[in-house]
């Protein structure tokens, strides 16, 4: 573990958290894999959470739903397994295009110890050749927000075919356009084959084995990495591909792992880096010197703080993260300026006191806190947008910075007299 001696002691808090649970990641996972359905086994609360997080995306029949437990299920009057079989049967009858069914555990299903792993196995056997049934838990007692994706991908790992062949495996959901761009760049560099987890079709699972090198597109995939490593894959340590610097370091780490000539790397990346920096220039002027407070939410906080400080000149007041995986963050932590105050976990009332006391220029936070902070005169940026928008890569660096510049710019625009 690389030491980070320049950082002050971590603030660790375990009070009230104001973070979504892992079920939320279904909102982007289902879009990534159009042939998969996510069936939460939970309560009306779970259904309402996903619906509220999905917000205006209510269109057509969604590829996620909730099997809501009723009193009969809890009283044991109805055999939960029979009920689940019935619901799954109805669902798949209506949705013949579904190839993978994720049975997603929730707090209620965990607390009553409903064995969804076994149910998945049973259902998979019954529908062999037609639908694969996979189980993971997105419950709020075990996972926060983006950790749901970690749990989903971890559940897929045992199903990946084995292969010793050398390959690069990108891990973590990327926007389709961004992924395509990366694939083009890897091809130009001469790295291949390149595959992705999650894949775009749930049936086209990438192989894994000792020849596999992992490149993480997202920082919240601790368990997935460990599971892939157990299958022989090796992680390429790198900062995350946010901002020009992070994206370049990320490509460079991959190039080094595949013994690509540095000249080739420079040939491919230099024009992008140059263009990316130029695009960032005007945004840097807007963000420079502005003070930033990140509340723990998406787990992207540390790489974002690194980008916004180093490339946009923002000052970091506090960088919150739901949990700190030092191993996956080593390279990022090393790039944070000395003295950066990190905090792990949350005690929302006390953290808001620190926000008010420090009067930052911008707070990155969840949807529940944004308007109340704005009403107190503090500009905010919703973190949920960061997991729905294409923000990765040199080409998106300016767009990413713009997400943070916009609320500040808007405040300058509005005049009332």
């Amino acid at each position: 573990m690389a030491a980070t001696p320049t950082l002050p002691p971590l603030i660790k808090e375990s009070g009230q958290r104001e973070v979504f649970c892992g079920l939320t990641s279904i909102v982007w996972l289902h879009r990534r894999m159009p042939d998969a359905f996510f069936l939460v086994v939970g309560s009306r609360t779970c259904a309402h959470l996903i619906q509220s997080a999905a917000g205006v995306m209510i269109f057509a029949e969604p590829r996620f739903g909730t099997a809501i437990l009723g009193e009969r299920d809890l009283a044991g009057l109805a055999d939960a397994n029979d009920e689940l079989d019935r619901v799954v049967g109805d669902l798949l009858g209506r949705r013949p295009e579904i190839r993978t069914l994720f049975l997603v555990g929730s707090c209620p299903s965990e607390v009553i110890k409903l064995d969804l792993a076994k149910a998945a196995e049973r259902l998979s056997q019954r529908m062999v050749g037609r639908v694969r049934v996979v189980n993971y838990s997105g419950s709020g007692i075990e996972t926060t927000f983006t950790q749901g994706e970690d749990a989903a991908l971890t559940a897929l790992v045992p199903m990946l075919p084995a292969s010793d062949a050398p390959q690069l495996l990108l891990v973590g959901t990327l926007a389709d356009g961004v992924e395509e761009r990366f694939l083009t760049l890897f091809e130009r560099l001469g790295i291949g084959p390149v595959r992705s987890l999650p894949p775009r079709q749930s049936t086209e699972l990438p192989p894994v084995g000792p020849g596999t090198r992992l490149l993480l597109a997202q920082p919240f995939l601790s368990d997935t990495v460990r599971a892939l490593e157990r299958r022989g894959a090796r992680r390429i340590a790198s900062p995350y591909p946010l901002g020009v610097e992070g994206s370049l370091a990320w490509m460079a780490a991959a190039a080094a792992a595949f013994d690509i000539d540095p000249i080739q790397l420079a040939l491919v990346m230099d024009p992008l880096v140059e263009r990316g920096r130029r695009a960032l220039e005007p945004l840097r002027r807007q963000l420079e010197g502005k003070r930033l407070f990140l509340l723990p939410d998406s787990q992207l906080e540390i790489p974002l703080a690194r980008f916004l400080h180093r490339e946009c000149g923002m000052e970091l007041v506090e960088v919150g993260t739901p949990y700190l995986d030092r191993q996956l963050m080593t390279e990022e932590l090393a790039l944070l300026p000395p003295g950066t105050q990190l905090s792990e976990g949350q005690d929302v009332e006390r953290q808001l006191e620190r926000v008010r006391a420090s009067r930052p220029d911008l707070v990155v936070c969840g949807l529940g806190l944004a308007n109340p902070l704005e009403a107190e005169g503090i500009a905010t940026k919703w973190s949920i947008e960061l997991v729905f928008s294409p923000i990765h890569g040199c080409d998106q660096a300016a767009d990413l910075a713009e997400l943070f510049a916009r609320p500040l710019h808007r405040r300058e625009l509005l005049q009332w007299n």
Binding site: S43, H48, S52, L74, V87, E97, S139, I141, N371
Partner: protein, 533 residues
């Protein structure tokens, strides 16, 4: 176990949050895991509230479950009381906490907090949001008022006692809450309306009320049960315990507002209001009689909403706008009986369901020209290419407009006329388009800007892939769809585009019912004759 894709109502503790967040000086400690904090965004985003709902969540985690979650509950309660110093404390649990049975209510009761504590038991696995809101409002008022309840046998207060007491009559406005439909504006409208008739507002609750205000509830001469979903149980209890009569008429629409005023005046022994008031104060009656509105006659409308707004909408649509109600339903099971009765009056069978796909199916089958519904129906209507106006919760951010837009009272009727007629083509415009449609300048795809939401093409376009694949097996899939012959298509092409979709649909249904394989020009006219009967 019940499969749910989108839900009309959240869990019951969200209803409790609506009461707490609507009020001042109330705090709610909710034993719940971290993910349940999502509910804050309903208030801060949809209602654009500038402050967080007054809710403290325990956010227990798996690792707490082995240990002492009861300690965590007590700590959260103490911290919330110290920090927020509420005048009344609500304590309850969400679905997951209900399973671990820490009894947060009794824990709080034993803590000697020095504030009234109301313990909420809201069964998360059988009840829903509106029930939770109603139960919370009732429990809170009951808890605060229990010392004031007169002994049984005491005579009931006379609603006309105001006269003897030398004051104006006064009423309570019960039920308006956050995340309800246009409650803020309804309260303002009713304050004005009642004020004009010399009636004072005693307490509005829960919206804007503090616990101290609730203590004054028994001082009213009449309770107005404005939103029965939320205020029904409270009004009944106040009537039983304090003898306060309840007026259950909901003043949405001209007829209902007239009736509401008449009944209220009768209860209070006031002289009946002038019968011309509606015509003088609202434009709906005249606008609806004006010639332009002739074109609204018989427009087919499909209504699905909470019970309050569904019943009101059915009455306005059928009696005050001359629409034909072709479907009526609600997701409010608690008030299913009332909606069934309203449907029966219109010769319909009410659809009582919280399955939006069943509602969408019924909507499609009813072939309406206008949908009045919730945000769910707005989306369904969009898929089916039908114009829609939102009339009830569940809401989206655009249903909380900046402007004054009540549903109740005279101004409410004006707002309703505009918002319902807006998605339809106006009469004069429709007439002109009909007159000039043969002209070569006439662009087929031209739609009134008023018909926003309606598709540019005349036939409702089925949602690609997904919906077609999923909906097909539902209707049996056995009967093959009849095929349009060339002359049939040609005849259909001569029908004005704005009714062509309906004609196409009716003709296909007719052909299917008759077992015809091909739709010729003759079949089209047979169908036309069949439907015009």
């Amino acid at each position: 176990m019940e499969l749910t894709l989108w839900t009309y109502e959240g869990p019951p503790h969200v209803g409790a949050m609506r009461i707490a967040a609507s009020m001042e000086g109330v705090h709610y400690v909710l034993h719940a895991p971290q993910g349940d904090t999502y509910a804050d965004l309903l208030f801060t985003m949809i209602e654009r509230r500038g402050r967080r709902p007054p809710v403290t969540y325990t956010t227990f985690q798996a690792r707490d479950l082995g240990g002492d979650t009861a300690e965590l509950v007590k700590r959260s309660i103490q911290q919330a009381v110290d920090r927020f110093q509420p005048e009344a404390l609500l304590v309850g649990e969400s679905c997951t906490a209900e399973l671990i049975q820490d009894q947060p209510g009794s824990l709080a009761a034993g803590m000697g907090l020095g504030v009234p504590v109301v313990s909420l038991e809201l069964p998360a696995y059988s009840k829903k949001e509106n029930w939770g809101a109603a139960e919370t409002l009732y429990q809170l008022c009951r808890g605060l008022l229990k010392e004031q309840v007169p002994l049984p046998g005491r005579p009931k207060p006379d609603p006309t006692r105001w006269r003897a007491e030398g004051r104006r009559p006064r009423v309570n406005l019960l039920g308006p809450s956050l995340l309800g439909f246009r409650c803020r504006d309804d309260v303002k409208e009713l304050r004005g309306l009642l004020g004009d008739h010399g009636i004072e507002v005693n307490v509005v609750a829960p919206l804007g009320a503090a616990p101290a205000d609730l203590l004054r509830l028994p001082a009213a001469d009449v309770n107005l049960c404005l939103y029965p979903e939320v205020a029904g149980p409270l009004c009944s209890w106040l009537e039983r315990s304090f003898g306060t009569p309840v007026l259950r008429a909901v003043p949405i629409g001209i007829g209902a507002t007239t009736e509401f005023l008449r009944d209220l005046h009768a209860l209070l022994d006031l002289e009946a209001p002038a019968s011309l008031e509606a015509d003088q104060r609202s434009r709906l009656p005249w606008y609806s009689r004006s010639v332009d509105s002739t074109y609204l006659t018989g427009k087919r409308v499909f209504i699905f909403a909470d019970a309050t707004h569904a019943i009101a909408a059915a009455r306005i649509a059928s009696r005050e706008l001359g629409f034909k109600v072709v479907g009526l339903g609600t997701y409010s099971r608690e008030l299913a009986r009332e909606v069934r009765a309203a449907a029966q009056e219109l010769g319909l069978e009410a659809l009582i369901s919280d399955d939006y796909l069943a509602v969408e199916k019924a909507m499609g089958e009813a072939a309406p020209e206008l949908v009045l519904g919730t945000q769910m129906e707005r989306h369904s209507a969009k898929r089916l290419g039908l114009p829609c106006a939102v009339i009830s919760a569940p809401l989206h951010v655009q249903d909380v407009p900046a402007r004054y837009a009540p549903q109740m009272g005279w101004e409410g009727a004006n707002v309703i006329f505009d918002t319902w007629v807006h998605p339809l083509m106006m009469g004069l415009e429709e007439h002109l388009i009909g007159m000039f449609k043969e002209d070569f300048e006439f662009v087929e795809g031209h739609r009134s800007h008023l018909a926003e939401g309606a598709p540019a093409r005349s036939a409702p376009t089925p949602e690609p892939a997904l919906a077609t694949a999923t909906l097909a097996p539902l209707d049996g899939g056995a009967k093959a769809a009849p095929v349009w012959s060339t002359d049939g298509e040609a005849a259909l092409g001569k029908i004005p585009f704005f009714v062509r979709g309906k004609v196409r649909k009716n003709t296909e249904t007719f052909a299917r019912d008759q077992g015809l394989a091909a739709i010729t020009e003759e079949v089209l006219y047979d169908a036309k004759a069949h439907y015009s009967r």
